[in-house]
């Protein structure tokens, strides 16, 4: 039987032990149905999820709900939306009780006097031109002012096919405002012309992502293996898709055979009653889904599959470390 210590040297073994005991139990919460942007390709609006539920506005009900989530074993709240910062009281209610990550477009500054250590992931979809095309404005101009030098914030760079050959200036400008960046790929949910990935483009962007990681090691939070997985949709001979995705809401998961999955994971609608199918939109074609967190989780829940060689297990460790950094379970 292959064991961890037979595969890893002392340094890697130490990293393995640190990461394998984290036992993260995340769930995702739609904080509101509203947003101050309407981005083309935003899964929330393109799939009409903003109409799926009438959002709960009573903060007492939110607080009671959060207590129930803690009872359920959740130890990481991932807040999405709509735009969560439009409802700061709800965000704060999570932050007071749980390790909390807030996804935002960065146009509203989180008040650090109230939420000093909450991890904030600021979305960016490319250079000025792409941002204007897809989001209606260059959000970086404002978000970078709001979060410059913030040690508990990073940019979540959703790369589009139009960004091939253009990622470096984006990463540089993020570095120059003293922030980190994590990269994922656009899933073109609204079929905007020219924004769907072609195989050769995925090959090109993988090389570019690797290059950015090598060149900007202090800025880019990523791993080569993650780049491989997200661009190929393959992991050790298996293909990502509905049958494999780990980020399906557990009470709605009736897949057979049951794949390895996130334990207790639920994505809640903002009425605190309805559950969405998965971490992204129900209308998305799972075979072309490029959701970064789902791909990371896919690797993470399949640890023993990565115990065939030292390199495979090191890849697994690196992806777990990346995830743990992005959600502040270990330092940058």
């Amino acid at each position: 039987m292959k064991t961890v210590s037979s595969l890893l040297n002392d340094d890697w073994n130490e990293r393995y032990r640190r990461i394998s005991r984290l036992n993260i139990r995340s769930s995702i919460y739609d904080v509101t149905d509203h947003c101050n942007l309407r981005c083309k390709g935003c899964f929330f609006f393109s799939s009409n999820e903003h109409k799926a539920a009438k959002e709960e506005t009573d903060i007492k009900k939110w607080k009671a709900f959060i207590e129930r989530e803690i009872e359920r074993g959740v130890n990481l709240a991932i807040l999405i939306g709509g735009e969560p910062t439009l409802c700061m009281d709800r965000v704060e209610a999570f932050y007071r009780r749980l390790p909390t990550f807030c996804a935002t477009n960065g146009l509203i500054k989180v008040p650090r006097e109230r939420l000093p250590h909450m991890m904030v992931g600021i979305s960016i979809w490319g250079d000025e031109k792409t941002e204007k095309t897809l989001r209606g404005k260059d959000t970086f101009a404002l978000s970078s002012k709001n979060y410059e030098g913030d040690p508990h914030a990073y940019y979540l760079y959703t790369i589009t096919p139009k960004q091939i050959g253009k990622t470096e200036p984006v990463i540089k400008k993020i570095r120059d405002v003293g922030l980190k960046v994590h990269m994922q790929l656009l899933s073109n949910d609204e079929k905007v012309d020219g924004f769907s990935w072609r195989p050769e483009e995925l090959k090109d962007i993988r090389m570019e992502m690797d290059d950015m990681l090598d060149k900007y090691q202090d800025t880019v939070i990523s791993s080569r293996y993650y780049h491989e997985i997200i661009t190929t949709g393959k992991m050790l001979g298996r293909s990502f898709g509905w049958a494999e995705c780990p980020s399906v809401t557990e009470p709605l998961d009736n897949r057979e055979p049951r794949p390895r999955r996130l334990i207790n994971f639920i994505r809640w609608a903002s009425d605190l009653k309805i559950m969405h199918r998965c971490c992204t939109s129900e209308t998305r074609d799972c075979t072309t889904c490029k959701d970064g967190a789902a791909h990371m989780s896919w690797v993470m829940v399949n640890k023993r599959m990565h115990m065939n060689s030292a390199r495979d297990l090191q890849n697994w460790i690196e992806v777990c470390e990346m995830f743990a950094k992005l959600y502040q379970f270990i330092p940058w």
């Binding site: 064991t3 961890v4 210590s5």
Partner: protein, 88 residues
């Protein structure tokens, strides 16, 4: 009794988790399941379900972190069985 349980748990692990190059007889009952075998909480949850079905014992998820070897798991089962017997 504990040796029987140890052997049974080893069988469960090998069968359910599809562990290769090991038999129930050669499975070291003191090897750390997380640090060495690479078992995670989902694996433990799977094993816990089989233990529940076979022994009628529920393993609390809060207890997972301390059940790091087959011997410790067997001891946990034995203890729970004893308590159940005393209560009957």
């Amino acid at each position: 009794m504990p040796d029987e349980i140890i052997l049974r748990i080893a069988h469960m692990m090998i069968d359910e988790l599809k562990l290769e190059d090991v038999t129930a007889e050669t499975f070291d009952p003191d090897i750390d399941l997380i640090d060495e075998v690479g078992i995670d909480s989902m694996d433990l949850a799977t094993i816990a379900l089989i233990i529940r079905d076979e022994y009628g014992i529920r393993i609390d998820e809060d207890d997972y972190p301390k059940l790091t070897t087959i011997r410790l798991l067997a001891g946990y089962i034995e203890e729970k069985l004893k308590t159940a017997q005393e209560n009957n």
